[in-house]
């Protein structure tokens, strides 16, 4: 009988044992080694497949020149066929969003790793960061494989091959996964960065302002990922041509933000960073007030985004996309769209619409105003 109990207990013991197998402490050196390894893994002659040497940002490059040409030269009004539009999306939406998702980590990782070792940090936090960086590495490898598959098919069927529409739709889904994992790394890194480097009552200087700005870029990437990329995914493929079927403002939003994510943040210095540390007290006060005003907008947007995530899974996104992108051509009014829904469902949809139609526009305006304000 006792043996019987022992046998029954074995799987439980095994699970408990496995749960304790993970390494709970990671050193700063392990993290920097892993980070450097990821970057060197994709280094190629004359450049790097993913990591821009100057900005350290992710910048996906293709080994097939015809793809690069299509991605870079197509415009929002590219051709009438869905293929050209799909190529345009790769650059205008996916590449930009991935850049935005990774930019916070790219901007602050060096200073973070250089100083965190001297601080009294919690050991499991660096371990968690290591795990997320490792997950990022694995996802990048998987993404790289799907990119190579995509390039192989282009070589096989030519860049204009009709069959490539379905290929790009499938590639989009891998791209979305890559962006998702990148966000998980960056969101966690951002929280640690704030906790140890920018506690409450930190003096508002240029460094503080830069961080606030980059936080905004990351926050916006979280929104684009969830509201456009995940929302459009269906059965392992993502057809983004629907984004062209109405006057949605995704491009406007991305255009206005990405313009400021240049090789580094030096372009920001010309606008507001210098003023934050100006010797002219009046200029400095006004510049810091600008940053404070922007932070209110950022915190508010984050709050609304939290609410958005609370109701996101309760909304039928296929129906929602049909309304907002007019995929069925029905041109539904909001009241028609809400007609027949339960009151709770309609309330959930209104929360989403409020974020999509008003809050993001407000936040992007605040973000651009910050760096453009004289």
């Amino acid at each position: 009988m006792k043996k019987g109990y022992s046998l029954l207990a074995l799987p439980l013991v095994a699970v408990v044992g496995l749960a304790g197998c993970g390494k709970t402490e990671r050193s700063v050196e392990e993290l920097t080694t892993l980070d450097a390894g990821i970057i060197s893994e994709y280094a190629v002659e004359g450049g790097n497949t993913y990591f821009n040497a100057t900005s350290k940002c992710i910048d996906v490059t293709y080994s097939v020149p015809s793809i690069t040409t299509k991605v870079q030269t197509n415009t929002v009004n590219a051709g009438s066929n869905g293929l050209d539009k799909r190529y345009y999306q790769l650059g205008a939406v996916y590449d930009r969003t991935l850049t935005m998702a990774y930019s916070y980590y790219a901007e602050f990782k060096d200073t973070f790793y250089a100083s965190i070792g001297d601080m009294e940090y919690e050991k499991d936090e660096l371990s968690e960061l290591y795990d997320r960086l490792k997950a990022f590495e694995r996802q990048l490898a998987a993404f790289n494989t799907s990119k190579l598959d995509f390039e192989r098919e282009v070589n096989l069927f030519t860049v204009n091959g009709e069959v490539l529409g379905a290929t790009i739709d499938a590639f989009n889904t891998h791209y979305t996964e890559m962006i998702g994992t990148t966000l998980e790394l960056n969101n966690y890194f951002r929280d640690l960065h704030v906790k140890y480097f920018y506690p409450a009552n930190t003096a508002k200087d240029a460094s503080y302002a830069t961080r606030a700005y980059m936080d905004g870029v990351l926050t916006l990437a979280n929104y684009v990922y969830k509201d456009y990329l995940v929302a459009l995914e269906k059965n392992g493929t993502t057809n983004t041509t629907v984004l062209f079927s109405n006057s949605n403002n995704l491009y406007t939003k991305l255009d206005s933000v990405v313009a400021f994510i240049s090789n580094d943040v030096s372009s920001l210095k010309d606008t507001f960073l210098d003023k934050v540390e100006s010797e002219d007290e009046a200029v400095k006060t006004a510049a810091i007030a600008n940053v404070t005003e922007y932070e209110v907008a950022l915190n508010t947007f984050k709050l609304y985004f939290d609410l958005y995530e609370k109701v996101y899974d309760k909304v039928d996104m296929e129906k929602h996309n049909a309304y907002r992108f007019n995929t069925t051509g029905a041109n539904l009014s909001e009241s028609k769209y809400l007609e027949g829904m339960s009151t709770v469902d309609a309330a959930n949809v209104r929360v989403l619409l409020n974020i999509e139609e008003d809050r993001t526009t407000e936040f992007v305006n605040a973000l651009t105003k910050l760096v453009r304000q004289a």
Partner: protein
């Protein structure tokens, strides 16, 4: 026998206590959901009844060529028709109102008889009646109601996400909802009364009918104000509720929410002075002292100038005050010097109550503008 009865009773009590316990633990809606459910009821059932009754009074009606006698068909809405409109003079007011409200094809067959007894010629009636022009102006309050409703829907959507609500705040929503429902019911009831009278003898209006209908229309005006007042109060309350329990004290403004602020605050100012003067009651503060009735009289004047009440001395100062207040709010929020259009440095001036900055705004609501500046700087 008694023992059996006692056991039976004890069993019943235990069962009831168990059921109650299970309900309290698993099925009783939380305070948050109770508030949301109440508001849902307002939005769905009660408001539907009110809208139905309101539409019934205001629906567009086709005046057929047989009535106009000029070979044309026209469709008029409430806003098209003025006091001196040829048709209201020509066909008689009750018939006109009845036809206007319910359709001429519904009960009126002998149009010539209307021509023979134009309402304007019925002795002793014309001056005291509720005219087509009054009816026309009555419509203008729909604009306020529609925007309050829009604001309500906006904040209501977020109510379901509230957490850790205090019982006092949940109770406030319950009470305000109850008051609004009573106003909705009263309005719908009065509309039914108007129908009942007009249906009695639609082709042969008499002085009694006219007086009754005129009185009912004035009641309707009062009811409408009660609805507007209660709906505004409820919406402002759920705005505060959402800001506290969902937005965690963060308030943000865009074109939509600024519009809501403007309309809600203006509607609050408008309806806070509504009924007392009209009903002729004394106004007392919380300590029982008589309050200067002037603001209420002004508001009654406003009702007159808006054409809703016809029995108070006409004076348009109240409506001017209201318009000024609304304009001030609009200027303060979105105008050239509006707080949202100011540069940060100027907002700082508002924040520190710099005399020049302060002079840009109406002193009655400077604190409000300053609060917005505080929020952003």
């Amino acid at each position: 026998m008694n023992k059996i009865l006692l056991r039976f009773l004890v069993t019943i009590v235990i069962l009831a206590a168990t059921i109650l316990g299970v309900w309290l633990i698993w099925f009783k809606p939380s305070r948050e959901m109770e508030a949301f459910n109440l508001l849902t009821e307002v939005q769905n059932d009660r408001q539907a009844e009110f809208t139905k009754a309101n539409n019934k009074i205001r629906t567009n009606t086709k005046i057929s060529d047989s009535l106009k006698n000029d070979g044309t068909d026209d469709v008029y809405s409430l806003n098209d028709i003025g006091l001196d409109h040829a048709h209201s003079v020509y066909y008689g007011k009750i018939a006109y109102l009845r036809g206007y409200m319910f359709g001429f094809e519904n009960g009126v067959t002998n149009t010539n008889s209307l021509d023979e007894t134009p309402f304007k010629d019925v002795a002793g009636v014309a001056d005291a009646s509720f005219t087509a022009g009054d009816l026309n102006k009555f419509a203008s309050f729909d604009d306020i109601y529609v925007t309050v409703d829009e604001a309500f829907k906006y904040y209501y959507s977020y109510v379901q996400l509230a957490e850790d609500v205090s019982s006092a705040d949940a109770k406030d929503i319950k009470n305000l909802t109850k008051e609004l429902n009573e106003s909705y019911n009263s309005f719908a009831h009065n509309v039914a009364e108007v129908y009942a009278i007009l249906d009695t003898n639609p082709t042969n209006p008499n002085i009694t009918m006219v007086s009754e209908v005129a009185a009912l229309y004035q009641n309707l005006a009062n009811d409408y104000y009660n609805v507007l007042k209660d709906y505004t109060a409820l919406t402002l309350d759920i705005r505060d509720y959402v800001v506290e329990y969902v937005f965690e004290g963060n308030v943000t403004y865009d074109a939509k929410t600024v519009k809501y602020e403007l309309v809600l605050n203006s509607a609050k100012a408008l309806t806070s002075k509504a009924f007392v003067a009209y009903l002729g009651e004394e106004v007392k503060d919380s300590e029982g002292n008589l309050v200067d009735p002037q603001p209420y009289v002004e508001f009654a004047d406003y009702l007159v100038s808006a054409g809703v009440i016809t029995t108070v001395v006409p004076d348009s100062s109240a409506i001017t005050n209201y318009a000024t207040l609304a304009k001030n709010y609009a200027d303060g929020l979105t105008g050239t010097n509006g707080v949202f259009n100011l540069k940060v440095a100027d907002k700082l001036k508002v924040k520190t109550e710099d005399a020049t900055a302060k002079s840009l705004y109406n002193e009655d609501y400077f604190a409000y503008v300053k609060a917005l500046a505080d929020l952003y700087v």
